[in-house]
């Protein structure tokens, strides 16, 4: 049964990357999407560890693609966000928005 808890920061980033990438979401593209948008050096192991955990929670499902020569004949593992994964993203967004509401962050942080 899918969890009702909010997502961790990296889980949130990974699920947003899946939403952005659609049918083209696999290890390389997810890693590059997060690295490009957050300027964080992310390891492929961190991406897979998070995707593996979220697959167990029912937020993501995966399927193997065909082998390609540019990958040394190895197959890709494509990931897609599920309905409960999308719900978890929305829930986390709402929680963050609610927490930030009414705060003047620029003033608080200066």
């Amino acid at each position: 049964m899918p969890s009702r808890e909010n997502l961790g920061e990296f889980e949130h980033l990974v699920l947003l990357a899946l939403l952005r990438l659609g049918d083209e979401a696999y290890g390389v593209t997810v890693r590059q999407e997060i690295a490009a948008r957050t300027r964080r050096d992310v390891s492929i192991g961190a991406v897979y560890a998070t995707l593996d955990r979220m697959e167990k929670k029912g937020y993501v499902r995966s399927q193997m693609g065909d082998p390609t020569p540019e990958r040394g004949g190895k197959r890709k593992r494509f990931f897609r966000i599920t309905a409960s994964g999308a719900a978890a993203v929305n829930r986390t967004h709402r929680a963050l928005k609610s927490m930030a509401e009414g705060l003047r962050l620029a003033e608080k942080l200066s």
């Binding site: 696999y26 290890g27 390389v28 890693r31 590059q32 390891s43 492929i44 192991g45 961190a46 897979y48 560890a49 593996d52 955990r53 167990k56 193997m64 082998p67 540019e70 990958r71 040394g72 190895k74 197959r75 890709k76 593992r77």
Partner: protein, 245 residues
Amino acid sequence: MNSPASPARPPRLASWLLGLFLSDDLATPIAGDLFEEFSEVSRLHSPRAARRWYWSQTLKTIPHIMWIGVRTAPLRLILTTIGGFLLLSATLNLPEWVFFAVVNNHCKYFLMHASAYRFWLVNGIPIGWSVVAAAVGISIALLARGREMIASLTLSALVAAFSIGTSAVFFLSLNDGWAITDWRAFSFTLPILRHGSFVFSLPHLPHVIFAFHEPFFITGLLQSVMIIAGAVLVRAINNFRFAAA
């Protein structure tokens, strides 16, 4: 005419190292992803930069892969580690028994060749311990299928901690003026204290005489390394069979 440059290949050692930790279901996609990005970095920058990138990704990825293994089967990992520890404790005297059985059966030979007796006493038994430790490493790797390296590293760390702890207790006990004489209860490496190349006596406890060949924690650490070596062997054979299939 120059022949076209052959495409850069990822560093073999890094690929091999990563392959030791990857379970079969993760091996294909992760190795493929790294290969794809390696080729891209090599084309955009240089083969050297790509090799550096590949090493960096490998070293950062291994802890995450290990954590996946721990998280998905914690009970199997705990049971395998405890089982390996008990198996090691139960079988570690085996080399001693074998050695003395051989000596008893060939008394005449060893009476006439004292140097051979001494050589096998000092070197044969520690070699035997190493073989036993490697066999335990192989056994737990077979039991922890898919998590060979995590199980062997955990057991290895446990054995190393025991050996270092025992050594610390031993040396602290010397300063306190007391000594534990039955090391069998605390250390895997007791026989080193009983057989060896020179005799060490404690001045404040003249009735206690220890004979040892080398600091016993070294033997404990060697056993730790051999446990990992046994698991590496199993994993390497599995990877070879997986690649051939």
